[in-house]
Protein backbone atom coordinates (compact mmCIF):
# COMPACT_ATOMS: atom_id res chain seq x y z
CA UNK A 1 0.00 0.00 0.00
CA UNK A 2 2.03 2.91 -1.25
CA UNK A 3 0.56 6.32 -1.47
CA UNK A 4 0.62 7.73 -5.00
CA UNK A 5 -0.96 11.11 -4.37
CA UNK A 6 -0.95 12.90 -1.08
CA UNK A 7 -2.73 16.19 -0.47
CA UNK A 8 -2.29 18.17 2.75
CA UNK A 9 -4.10 21.28 3.87
CA UNK A 10 -5.19 22.34 0.38
CA UNK A 11 -7.03 25.66 0.32
CA UNK A 12 -8.57 27.69 -2.46
CA UNK A 13 -11.07 30.49 -2.40
CA UNK A 14 -12.55 32.58 -5.18
CA UNK A 15 -13.39 35.97 -3.72
CA UNK A 16 -15.45 35.19 -0.63
CA UNK A 17 -16.30 31.65 -1.68
CA UNK A 18 -14.15 28.90 -0.20
CA UNK A 19 -14.04 26.14 -2.80
CA UNK A 20 -11.44 23.99 -1.12
CA UNK A 21 -11.15 24.23 2.65
CA UNK A 22 -8.15 22.52 4.20
CA UNK A 23 -8.46 19.29 2.23
CA UNK A 24 -6.37 16.27 3.17
CA UNK A 25 -6.52 13.34 0.78
CA UNK A 26 -4.44 10.25 0.10
CA UNK A 27 -4.79 8.17 -3.04
CA UNK A 28 -3.22 4.74 -2.82
CA UNK A 29 -1.48 3.23 -5.81
CA UNK A 30 -3.85 1.04 -7.80
CA UNK A 31 -7.09 2.04 -6.10
CA UNK A 32 -10.19 3.59 -7.54
CA UNK A 33 -10.92 6.42 -5.20
CA UNK A 34 -14.22 8.21 -5.66
CA UNK A 35 -15.06 11.70 -4.51
CA UNK A 36 -18.69 12.45 -3.96
CA UNK A 37 -20.48 15.47 -2.66
CA UNK A 38 -23.38 17.76 -3.37
CA UNK A 39 -23.29 20.30 -6.18
CA UNK A 40 -20.92 23.13 -5.43
CA UNK A 41 -18.89 21.08 -2.95
CA UNK A 42 -15.70 21.97 -4.80
CA UNK A 43 -15.04 18.67 -6.53
CA UNK A 44 -14.02 20.07 -9.89
CA UNK A 45 -11.93 22.80 -8.25
CA UNK A 46 -10.09 20.08 -6.35
CA UNK A 47 -9.36 18.17 -9.56
CA UNK A 48 -8.24 21.38 -11.25
CA UNK A 49 -5.74 22.00 -8.46
CA UNK A 50 -4.44 18.46 -8.71
CA UNK A 51 -4.01 18.72 -12.49
CA UNK A 52 -2.41 22.15 -12.20
CA UNK A 53 -5.08 24.17 -13.99
CA UNK A 54 -5.83 26.13 -10.80
CA UNK A 55 -3.25 27.29 -8.26
CA UNK A 56 -4.05 26.56 -4.61
CA UNK A 57 -3.85 29.36 -2.02
CA UNK A 58 -2.17 27.04 0.47
CA UNK A 59 -1.35 23.40 0.97
CA UNK A 60 0.91 20.75 -0.47
CA UNK A 61 0.38 18.23 -3.27
CA UNK A 62 2.81 15.30 -3.40
CA UNK A 63 3.03 12.78 -6.24
CA UNK A 64 5.16 9.70 -5.56
CA UNK A 65 6.79 11.60 -2.71
CA UNK A 66 7.75 14.61 -4.82
CA UNK A 67 6.27 18.02 -4.16
CA UNK A 68 4.37 19.12 -7.27
CA UNK A 69 2.38 21.96 -5.69
CA UNK A 70 4.03 24.59 -7.84
CA UNK A 71 4.58 22.58 -11.01
CA UNK A 72 2.67 23.80 -14.09
CA UNK A 73 -0.02 21.61 -15.64
CA UNK A 74 2.08 20.38 -18.55
CA UNK A 75 4.85 19.23 -16.21
CA UNK A 76 2.38 17.34 -14.03
CA UNK A 77 1.07 15.59 -17.13
CA UNK A 78 4.61 14.49 -17.91
CA UNK A 79 4.98 13.28 -14.33
CA UNK A 80 1.97 11.04 -14.70
CA UNK A 81 -1.27 12.89 -13.97
CA UNK A 82 -3.97 13.10 -16.57
CA UNK A 83 -7.51 14.39 -16.28
CA UNK A 84 -10.72 14.16 -18.17
CA UNK A 85 -13.12 17.06 -18.16
CA UNK A 86 -16.64 17.31 -16.81
CA UNK A 87 -17.56 19.45 -19.79
CA UNK A 88 -16.22 17.67 -22.85
CA UNK A 89 -12.89 19.21 -23.79
CA UNK A 90 -11.65 18.01 -27.13
CA UNK A 91 -10.24 19.61 -30.23
CA UNK A 92 -13.41 19.73 -32.29
CA UNK A 93 -11.72 20.71 -35.58
CA UNK A 94 -9.44 17.68 -35.57
CA UNK A 95 -10.32 14.10 -36.36
CA UNK A 96 -11.04 11.60 -33.60
CA UNK A 97 -7.80 9.80 -34.32
CA UNK A 98 -5.78 13.03 -34.31
CA UNK A 99 -7.13 13.87 -30.86
CA UNK A 100 -6.04 10.56 -29.42
CA UNK A 101 -2.78 10.46 -31.39
CA UNK A 102 -1.83 13.76 -29.80
CA UNK A 103 -2.09 12.12 -26.39
CA UNK A 104 0.09 9.23 -27.55
CA UNK A 105 2.55 11.66 -29.10
CA UNK A 106 2.93 13.35 -25.71
CA UNK A 107 4.35 10.10 -24.32
CA UNK A 108 6.86 9.78 -27.16
CA UNK A 109 9.47 12.42 -26.36
CA UNK A 110 9.22 16.10 -27.17
CA UNK A 111 7.33 17.32 -30.21
CA UNK A 112 9.72 19.91 -31.56
CA UNK A 113 9.91 17.82 -34.71
CA UNK A 114 9.06 19.86 -37.72
CA UNK A 115 9.24 18.04 -41.02
CA UNK A 116 8.06 14.44 -40.84
CA UNK A 117 4.28 14.13 -41.29
CA UNK A 118 2.79 13.25 -37.89
CA UNK A 119 0.01 11.23 -39.47
CA UNK A 120 2.53 8.85 -41.01
CA UNK A 121 4.27 7.88 -37.78
CA UNK A 122 3.17 4.26 -37.50
CA UNK A 123 3.67 3.48 -33.83
CA UNK A 124 1.77 6.59 -32.71
CA UNK A 125 -1.14 6.00 -35.07
CA UNK A 126 -1.34 2.30 -34.22
CA UNK A 127 -1.43 2.92 -30.51
CA UNK A 128 -4.05 5.65 -30.89
CA UNK A 129 -6.18 3.29 -32.99
CA UNK A 130 -5.78 0.60 -30.36
CA UNK A 131 -7.02 3.00 -27.67
CA UNK A 132 -10.01 3.92 -29.81
CA UNK A 133 -10.75 0.26 -30.38
CA UNK A 134 -10.60 -0.30 -26.64
CA UNK A 135 -13.35 2.25 -25.99
CA UNK A 136 -15.30 1.09 -29.04
CA UNK A 137 -14.69 4.02 -31.36
CA UNK A 138 -12.39 2.44 -33.95
CA UNK A 139 -14.90 2.98 -36.74
CA UNK A 140 -15.15 6.71 -36.06
CA UNK A 141 -11.38 7.27 -36.17
CA UNK A 142 -11.30 9.41 -39.30
CA UNK A 143 -14.44 11.44 -38.55
CA UNK A 144 -14.22 15.06 -37.46
CA UNK A 145 -14.62 15.14 -33.70
CA UNK A 146 -17.52 17.58 -33.84
CA UNK A 147 -19.64 15.03 -35.72
CA UNK A 148 -19.66 12.60 -32.81
CA UNK A 149 -22.42 12.31 -30.23
CA UNK A 150 -22.03 13.41 -26.62
CA UNK A 151 -21.67 9.81 -25.48
CA UNK A 152 -18.93 9.21 -28.01
CA UNK A 153 -17.16 12.35 -26.85
CA UNK A 154 -17.12 10.95 -23.32
CA UNK A 155 -15.60 7.75 -24.67
CA UNK A 156 -12.99 9.83 -26.50
CA UNK A 157 -12.10 11.61 -23.27
CA UNK A 158 -11.46 8.25 -21.74
CA UNK A 159 -9.42 7.01 -24.71
CA UNK A 160 -7.26 10.12 -24.39
CA UNK A 161 -6.79 9.63 -20.66
CA UNK A 162 -5.76 6.04 -21.34
CA UNK A 163 -3.44 6.94 -24.19
CA UNK A 164 -1.53 9.33 -21.99
CA UNK A 165 -0.30 6.32 -19.99
CA UNK A 166 -0.67 8.39 -16.87
CA UNK A 167 -0.27 6.62 -13.59
CA UNK A 168 -3.03 8.69 -12.04
CA UNK A 169 -6.25 9.38 -13.93
CA UNK A 170 -8.44 12.18 -12.63
CA UNK A 171 -11.87 11.54 -14.11
CA UNK A 172 -14.32 14.39 -13.71
CA UNK A 173 -17.82 12.96 -14.09
CA UNK A 174 -17.18 10.62 -17.02
CA UNK A 175 -20.85 9.62 -16.91
CA UNK A 176 -22.16 13.21 -17.16
CA UNK A 177 -25.00 13.42 -19.64
CA UNK A 178 -24.92 9.75 -20.62
CA UNK A 179 -28.04 7.66 -21.06
CA UNK A 180 -28.56 4.54 -18.93
CA UNK A 181 -27.08 2.17 -21.49
CA UNK A 182 -24.06 4.33 -22.19
CA UNK A 183 -23.54 4.72 -18.45
CA UNK A 184 -23.59 0.97 -17.97
CA UNK A 185 -20.99 0.56 -20.71
CA UNK A 186 -18.82 3.19 -19.09
CA UNK A 187 -19.11 1.56 -15.66
CA UNK A 188 -18.18 -1.82 -17.10
CA UNK A 189 -15.25 -0.24 -18.81
CA UNK A 190 -14.00 1.58 -15.72
CA UNK A 191 -14.32 -1.70 -13.82
CA UNK A 192 -12.03 -3.35 -16.32
CA UNK A 193 -9.44 -0.65 -15.64
CA UNK A 194 -9.41 -1.30 -11.91
CA UNK A 195 -6.03 -2.40 -10.67
CA UNK A 196 -4.31 -1.31 -13.87
CA UNK A 197 -4.52 2.41 -13.21
CA UNK A 198 -4.95 4.56 -10.18
CA UNK A 199 -8.15 6.50 -10.62
CA UNK A 200 -9.59 9.46 -8.76
CA UNK A 201 -13.21 9.55 -9.84
CA UNK A 202 -15.71 12.33 -9.37
CA UNK A 203 -19.20 11.15 -10.00
CA UNK A 204 -22.79 12.03 -9.16
CA UNK A 205 -24.22 8.66 -10.11
CA UNK A 206 -24.23 6.91 -6.72
CA UNK A 207 -24.95 3.47 -8.16
CA UNK A 208 -21.86 3.79 -10.30
CA UNK A 209 -19.75 5.08 -7.41
CA UNK A 210 -20.70 2.28 -5.06
CA UNK A 211 -20.24 -0.30 -7.78
CA UNK A 212 -16.76 0.93 -8.65
CA UNK A 213 -14.99 2.57 -5.73
CA UNK A 214 -12.45 0.95 -3.45
CA UNK A 215 -12.61 3.97 -1.19
CA UNK A 216 -14.79 7.05 -1.12
CA UNK A 217 -14.18 10.57 0.16
CA UNK A 218 -17.08 12.89 0.78
CA UNK A 219 -16.59 16.56 0.04
CA UNK A 220 -19.04 19.10 1.44
CA UNK A 221 -18.54 22.87 1.18
CA UNK A 222 -14.89 22.33 0.32
CA UNK A 223 -14.19 20.06 3.31
CA UNK A 224 -13.59 16.33 3.35
CA UNK A 225 -16.09 15.17 5.96
CA UNK A 226 -15.40 11.45 5.61
CA UNK A 227 -13.13 8.99 3.87
CA UNK A 228 -13.55 5.26 3.96
CA UNK A 229 -14.76 2.03 2.41
CA UNK A 230 -18.08 2.22 0.53
CA UNK A 231 -19.98 0.45 3.30
CA UNK A 232 -18.63 2.81 5.96
CA UNK A 233 -19.60 5.82 3.88
CA UNK A 234 -23.09 4.46 3.28
CA UNK A 235 -23.69 4.19 7.00
CA UNK A 236 -21.90 7.38 8.02
CA UNK A 237 -24.20 9.80 9.85
CA UNK A 238 -22.39 12.95 8.79
CA UNK A 239 -22.60 11.90 5.17
CA UNK A 240 -26.30 11.11 5.41
CA UNK A 241 -26.92 14.42 7.05
CA UNK A 242 -25.00 16.31 4.38
CA UNK A 243 -26.89 14.65 1.58
CA UNK A 244 -30.32 14.68 3.21
CA UNK A 245 -29.77 18.22 4.38
CA UNK A 246 -29.18 19.25 0.83
CA UNK A 247 -32.19 17.57 -0.66
Amino acid sequence: MTTLLSVKGLKKSFGGVTATDDVDLDVIKGELHAIIGPNGAGKTTLISQLSGAVKPDAGVIMLNGANITHKPAHTRARLGITRSFQITSLVMDMSVLDNVALAVQATDGHSFKFLKPARKIGHIRDKALAMLAEVGLAERAEDPTRNLSHGEHRQMELAIALASEAELMLLDEPMAGLGPEESATMVAYLKSLKGKRTILLIEHDMDAVFALADRISVLVYGKVIATGLPDDIRSNDAVRHAYLGEE
Binding site: S51, H74, M94, A101
Partner: protein
Protein backbone atom coordinates in the same frame (compact mmCIF):
# COMPACT_ATOMS: atom_id res chain seq x y z
CA UNK B 1 -3.23 14.27 -63.06
CA UNK B 2 -4.67 11.14 -61.52
CA UNK B 3 -3.29 10.55 -58.07
CA UNK B 4 -3.75 14.12 -56.88
CA UNK B 5 -6.69 15.15 -54.77
CA UNK B 6 -8.96 17.92 -56.00
CA UNK B 7 -7.38 20.46 -53.69
CA UNK B 8 -3.86 19.42 -54.74
CA UNK B 9 -4.85 19.91 -58.39
CA UNK B 10 -6.21 23.37 -57.61
CA UNK B 11 -3.01 24.27 -55.77
CA UNK B 12 -0.83 23.13 -58.64
CA UNK B 13 -3.03 24.88 -61.17
CA UNK B 14 -3.02 28.22 -59.36
CA UNK B 15 0.71 28.09 -58.70
CA UNK B 16 1.34 27.23 -62.36
CA UNK B 17 -0.69 30.23 -63.52
CA UNK B 18 1.22 32.36 -61.05
CA UNK B 19 4.49 31.19 -62.62
CA UNK B 20 3.52 31.27 -66.29
CA UNK B 21 1.59 34.52 -66.54
CA UNK B 22 4.42 36.80 -65.32
CA UNK B 23 6.87 35.09 -67.65
CA UNK B 24 4.42 35.81 -70.44
CA UNK B 25 4.25 39.47 -69.36
CA UNK B 26 8.03 39.62 -69.41
CA UNK B 27 8.17 37.94 -72.84
CA UNK B 28 5.73 40.46 -74.28
CA UNK B 29 7.40 43.39 -72.57
CA UNK B 30 4.56 44.28 -70.21
CA UNK B 31 6.86 45.28 -67.38
CA UNK B 32 4.09 46.91 -65.38
CA UNK B 33 2.25 43.63 -64.98
CA UNK B 34 5.46 41.77 -64.26
CA UNK B 35 6.21 44.12 -61.41
CA UNK B 36 2.64 43.79 -60.15
CA UNK B 37 3.13 40.02 -60.11
CA UNK B 38 6.43 40.33 -58.26
CA UNK B 39 4.84 42.47 -55.56
CA UNK B 40 2.00 39.98 -55.35
CA UNK B 41 4.37 37.05 -54.86
CA UNK B 42 6.39 38.85 -52.19
CA UNK B 43 3.29 39.84 -50.25
CA UNK B 44 2.10 36.26 -50.62
CA UNK B 45 5.24 35.09 -48.80
CA UNK B 46 4.39 37.44 -45.94
CA UNK B 47 0.79 36.21 -45.93
CA UNK B 48 1.94 32.56 -45.91
CA UNK B 49 4.14 33.33 -42.90
CA UNK B 50 1.26 35.04 -41.09
CA UNK B 51 -1.01 32.09 -41.88
CA UNK B 52 1.29 29.80 -39.88
CA UNK B 53 0.47 31.59 -36.64
CA UNK B 54 -2.92 33.11 -37.49
CA UNK B 55 -4.46 30.22 -39.40
CA UNK B 56 -2.87 27.21 -37.76
CA UNK B 57 -1.91 28.72 -34.43
CA UNK B 58 -4.96 30.89 -33.83
CA UNK B 59 -2.66 33.78 -32.88
CA UNK B 60 -4.09 36.95 -34.34
CA UNK B 61 -0.97 39.02 -34.85
CA UNK B 62 -1.75 42.58 -35.80
CA UNK B 63 1.91 43.50 -36.07
CA UNK B 64 3.25 41.37 -38.86
CA UNK B 65 4.21 44.33 -41.03
CA UNK B 66 7.01 45.04 -38.53
CA UNK B 67 8.85 42.00 -39.87
CA UNK B 68 8.51 43.24 -43.42
CA UNK B 69 10.05 46.52 -42.30
CA UNK B 70 12.84 44.84 -40.36
CA UNK B 71 13.65 42.67 -43.39
CA UNK B 72 13.63 45.63 -45.75
CA UNK B 73 15.84 47.75 -43.50
CA UNK B 74 18.22 44.77 -43.16
CA UNK B 75 18.83 45.23 -46.87
CA UNK B 76 18.66 49.01 -46.93
CA UNK B 77 20.93 49.82 -43.99
CA UNK B 78 23.94 47.71 -45.08
CA UNK B 79 23.52 49.01 -48.64
CA UNK B 80 23.35 52.59 -47.36
CA UNK B 81 26.59 52.22 -45.40
CA UNK B 82 28.29 50.41 -48.26
CA UNK B 83 27.69 53.52 -50.35
CA UNK B 84 28.13 56.31 -47.81
CA UNK B 85 30.52 54.72 -45.32
CA UNK B 86 30.20 54.29 -41.57
CA UNK B 87 29.11 51.24 -39.58
CA UNK B 88 31.72 49.12 -41.33
CA UNK B 89 30.67 45.93 -39.60
CA UNK B 90 27.38 45.86 -41.45
CA UNK B 91 28.22 47.85 -44.56
CA UNK B 92 27.78 45.37 -47.38
CA UNK B 93 25.94 44.70 -50.61
CA UNK B 94 26.40 40.97 -50.20
CA UNK B 95 23.00 39.38 -50.65
CA UNK B 96 23.68 36.39 -48.44
CA UNK B 97 24.73 38.67 -45.61
CA UNK B 98 21.69 40.90 -46.04
CA UNK B 99 19.25 38.01 -46.22
CA UNK B 100 20.81 36.38 -43.16
CA UNK B 101 20.64 39.70 -41.31
CA UNK B 102 16.97 40.09 -42.28
CA UNK B 103 16.03 36.62 -41.12
CA UNK B 104 18.04 36.74 -37.89
CA UNK B 105 16.91 40.25 -36.94
CA UNK B 106 13.28 39.33 -37.59
CA UNK B 107 13.64 36.10 -35.61
CA UNK B 108 15.23 37.89 -32.65
CA UNK B 109 12.52 40.55 -32.67
CA UNK B 110 9.87 37.80 -32.82
CA UNK B 111 11.52 35.94 -29.95
CA UNK B 112 11.66 38.95 -27.65
CA UNK B 113 8.24 40.39 -28.44
CA UNK B 114 6.63 36.96 -28.77
CA UNK B 115 7.86 35.95 -25.32
CA UNK B 116 5.88 38.91 -23.95
CA UNK B 117 2.87 38.93 -26.32
CA UNK B 118 2.15 35.23 -25.88
CA UNK B 119 1.55 35.79 -22.17
CA UNK B 120 -1.66 37.51 -23.23
CA UNK B 121 -4.74 36.22 -24.99
CA UNK B 122 -7.45 37.34 -27.34
CA UNK B 123 -7.87 41.04 -27.89
CA UNK B 124 -4.89 41.83 -25.64
CA UNK B 125 -2.67 39.78 -27.90
CA UNK B 126 -3.92 41.71 -30.92
CA UNK B 127 -3.26 45.04 -29.21
CA UNK B 128 0.19 44.19 -27.89
CA UNK B 129 1.46 42.80 -31.20
CA UNK B 130 0.25 46.00 -32.83
CA UNK B 131 1.93 48.09 -30.13
CA UNK B 132 5.29 46.42 -30.71
CA UNK B 133 4.98 46.93 -34.45
CA UNK B 134 4.22 50.62 -33.91
CA UNK B 135 7.29 50.80 -31.69
CA UNK B 136 9.45 49.63 -34.58
CA UNK B 137 7.64 52.06 -36.86
CA UNK B 138 8.45 55.04 -34.65
CA UNK B 139 11.95 53.74 -34.07
CA UNK B 140 12.72 54.02 -37.78
CA UNK B 141 10.84 57.32 -38.06
CA UNK B 142 13.20 58.70 -35.42
CA UNK B 143 16.47 57.70 -37.12
CA UNK B 144 17.44 60.57 -39.37
CA UNK B 145 20.49 58.79 -40.75
CA UNK B 146 18.13 56.45 -42.59
CA UNK B 147 15.78 59.17 -43.76
CA UNK B 148 13.32 59.20 -40.87
CA UNK B 149 9.80 59.05 -42.19
CA UNK B 150 10.97 60.10 -45.66
CA UNK B 151 12.53 56.70 -46.03
CA UNK B 152 15.67 55.45 -47.65
CA UNK B 153 16.57 54.74 -51.27
CA UNK B 154 18.36 51.44 -51.88
CA UNK B 155 20.90 52.33 -54.56
CA UNK B 156 22.28 48.86 -54.99
CA UNK B 157 20.17 45.72 -54.78
CA UNK B 158 21.42 42.66 -52.89
CA UNK B 159 24.30 41.14 -54.84
CA UNK B 160 24.48 37.41 -55.47
CA UNK B 161 26.90 35.45 -57.65
CA UNK B 162 25.29 34.66 -61.05
CA UNK B 163 21.91 36.07 -60.01
CA UNK B 164 21.22 39.69 -60.86
CA UNK B 165 18.19 41.06 -59.04
CA UNK B 166 18.30 44.20 -61.19
CA UNK B 167 16.60 42.19 -63.90
CA UNK B 168 12.87 42.21 -63.10
CA UNK B 169 12.27 38.68 -64.34
CA UNK B 170 15.10 37.36 -62.14
CA UNK B 171 13.71 39.11 -59.10
CA UNK B 172 10.31 37.63 -59.89
CA UNK B 173 11.66 34.11 -60.30
CA UNK B 174 13.68 34.32 -57.08
CA UNK B 175 10.62 35.55 -55.21
CA UNK B 176 8.51 32.82 -56.73
CA UNK B 177 10.96 30.13 -55.65
CA UNK B 178 11.02 31.58 -52.14
CA UNK B 179 7.21 31.54 -52.10
CA UNK B 180 7.08 27.88 -53.12
CA UNK B 181 9.69 27.00 -50.48
CA UNK B 182 7.77 28.96 -47.85
CA UNK B 183 4.54 27.16 -48.74
CA UNK B 184 6.30 23.82 -48.63
CA UNK B 185 7.87 24.61 -45.27
CA UNK B 186 4.63 25.80 -43.66
CA UNK B 187 2.81 22.77 -45.03
CA UNK B 188 5.48 20.44 -43.63
CA UNK B 189 5.44 22.20 -40.26
CA UNK B 190 1.68 22.14 -39.78
CA UNK B 191 1.49 18.44 -40.58
CA UNK B 192 4.42 17.51 -38.35
CA UNK B 193 4.23 16.59 -34.70
CA UNK B 194 4.98 20.21 -33.90
CA UNK B 195 2.13 21.33 -36.12
CA UNK B 196 -0.30 18.94 -34.48
CA UNK B 197 0.48 20.46 -31.10
CA UNK B 198 0.17 23.98 -32.52
CA UNK B 199 -3.22 23.26 -34.07
CA UNK B 200 -4.43 21.44 -31.00
CA UNK B 201 -3.47 24.43 -28.84
CA UNK B 202 -5.51 26.61 -31.15
CA UNK B 203 -8.54 24.33 -30.90
CA UNK B 204 -8.32 23.68 -27.17
CA UNK B 205 -5.42 25.02 -25.16
CA UNK B 206 -6.45 23.52 -21.80
CA UNK B 207 -6.72 20.08 -23.28
CA UNK B 208 -3.33 20.39 -24.96
CA UNK B 209 -1.64 21.53 -21.74
CA UNK B 210 -3.32 18.67 -19.88
CA UNK B 211 -1.72 16.23 -22.30
CA UNK B 212 1.69 17.50 -21.18
CA UNK B 213 2.55 20.07 -23.83
CA UNK B 214 3.97 23.42 -22.83
CA UNK B 215 1.89 25.20 -25.45
CA UNK B 216 3.56 28.54 -24.72
CA UNK B 217 6.88 27.23 -26.05
CA UNK B 218 5.30 25.68 -29.10
CA UNK B 219 3.50 28.91 -29.92
CA UNK B 220 6.63 30.96 -29.36
CA UNK B 221 8.56 28.72 -31.74
CA UNK B 222 5.90 29.10 -34.42
CA UNK B 223 5.90 32.86 -33.81
CA UNK B 224 9.66 33.03 -34.37
CA UNK B 225 9.52 30.89 -37.53
CA UNK B 226 6.71 33.07 -38.89
CA UNK B 227 8.58 36.28 -38.07
CA UNK B 228 11.79 35.06 -39.69
CA UNK B 229 9.91 34.06 -42.83
CA UNK B 230 8.19 37.42 -42.99
CA UNK B 231 11.59 39.11 -42.54
CA UNK B 232 12.72 37.33 -45.68
CA UNK B 233 9.68 38.67 -47.52
CA UNK B 234 10.68 42.12 -46.30
CA UNK B 235 14.19 41.73 -47.68
CA UNK B 236 12.69 40.84 -51.05
CA UNK B 237 10.28 43.75 -50.87
CA UNK B 238 13.19 46.10 -50.19
CA UNK B 239 14.94 44.78 -53.27
CA UNK B 240 11.79 45.07 -55.30
CA UNK B 241 10.86 48.62 -54.31
CA UNK B 242 14.47 49.89 -53.90
CA UNK B 243 12.89 52.36 -51.55
CA UNK B 244 12.05 51.67 -47.95
CA UNK B 245 10.29 53.75 -45.38
CA UNK B 246 8.61 53.27 -42.01
CA UNK B 247 5.31 53.41 -43.89
CA UNK B 248 5.97 49.77 -44.90
CA UNK B 249 5.30 48.73 -41.31
CA UNK B 250 2.39 50.98 -40.52
CA UNK B 251 -0.35 49.17 -38.62
CA UNK B 252 -2.61 49.37 -41.67
CA UNK B 253 -0.04 47.21 -43.51
CA UNK B 254 -0.40 44.59 -40.80
CA UNK B 255 -4.13 44.82 -41.34
CA UNK B 256 -3.69 44.23 -45.05
CA UNK B 257 -1.72 41.06 -44.39
CA UNK B 258 -4.50 39.81 -42.11
CA UNK B 259 -6.99 40.79 -44.79
CA UNK B 260 -5.12 38.64 -47.34
CA UNK B 261 -5.02 35.58 -45.09
CA UNK B 262 -8.69 35.82 -44.11
CA UNK B 263 -9.85 36.65 -47.64
CA UNK B 264 -7.96 33.69 -49.09
CA UNK B 265 -8.87 31.28 -46.33
CA UNK B 266 -7.06 30.71 -43.04
CA UNK B 267 -5.31 27.43 -42.31
CA UNK B 268 -5.12 26.41 -45.95
CA UNK B 269 -2.00 26.02 -48.08
CA UNK B 270 -3.20 28.16 -50.95
CA UNK B 271 -5.41 30.63 -49.07
CA UNK B 272 -2.79 33.30 -48.31
CA UNK B 273 -1.55 33.23 -51.90
CA UNK B 274 -5.06 33.60 -53.30
CA UNK B 275 -5.76 36.34 -50.79
CA UNK B 276 -2.58 38.21 -51.72
CA UNK B 277 -3.35 37.78 -55.43
CA UNK B 278 -6.89 39.09 -55.17
CA UNK B 279 -5.79 41.87 -52.84
CA UNK B 280 -3.03 43.13 -55.12
CA UNK B 281 -4.92 42.73 -58.40
CA UNK B 282 -8.29 44.02 -57.25
CA UNK B 283 -6.75 46.94 -55.36
CA UNK B 284 -4.82 47.85 -58.51
CA UNK B 285 -7.81 47.83 -60.83
CA UNK B 286 -10.27 49.38 -58.42
CA UNK B 287 -7.84 52.19 -57.69
CA UNK B 288 -7.63 52.89 -61.42
CA UNK B 289 -11.42 53.23 -61.54
CA UNK B 290 -12.01 55.34 -58.45
CA UNK B 291 -10.11 56.93 -55.62
CA UNK B 292 -12.77 55.56 -53.29
CA UNK B 293 -11.66 52.01 -54.01
CA UNK B 294 -11.46 51.08 -50.34
CA UNK B 295 -15.25 51.07 -50.09
CA UNK B 296 -16.01 48.28 -52.61
CA UNK B 297 -12.91 46.53 -51.34
CA UNK B 298 -14.19 46.51 -47.78
CA UNK B 299 -17.60 45.31 -48.91
CA UNK B 300 -15.89 42.47 -50.74
CA UNK B 301 -14.14 41.34 -47.57
CA UNK B 302 -17.37 41.49 -45.59
CA UNK B 303 -19.12 39.43 -48.27
CA UNK B 304 -16.37 36.79 -48.26
CA UNK B 305 -16.34 36.53 -44.46
CA UNK B 306 -20.14 36.34 -44.26
CA UNK B 307 -20.90 34.06 -47.16
CA UNK B 308 -17.78 32.01 -47.75
CA UNK B 309 -16.51 30.50 -44.53
CA UNK B 310 -13.09 29.26 -45.49
CA UNK B 311 -12.45 32.21 -47.78
CA UNK B 312 -11.66 32.07 -51.48
CA UNK B 313 -9.91 28.72 -51.26
CA UNK B 314 -13.08 27.37 -49.65
CA UNK B 315 -15.07 28.56 -52.67
CA UNK B 316 -12.56 27.01 -55.06
CA UNK B 317 -12.74 23.68 -53.31
CA UNK B 318 -16.52 23.82 -53.45
CA UNK B 319 -17.04 24.14 -49.73
CA UNK B 320 -18.40 27.65 -49.66
CA UNK B 321 -20.87 27.24 -46.86
Amino acid sequence: MIGFSRSARINIGVMAILAILPVFFWWTGQTFYLSLATRLVILAIAAVSLNLILGYGGLISFGHAAYIGIGAYAVGIPAHHALYGGMDFIASNNGFFQIALAVVAAAVFALITGAICLRTKGVYFIMITMAFAQMVYYFFVSIEEYGGDDGLVIDTRSEFPLVNLDQPIVLFLVSYVVLVLAMWLVNAIVNSRFGMVLQSAKGNNDRTVTLGYNTYLYRLTAYVISGAMCGLAGALLGNFATFISPEMMDWSRSGELMFMVILGGTATALGPVLGAAVFVVVAQFLSELTIYWHLPFGLMLIAVVLFARGGLSGILRGKGS
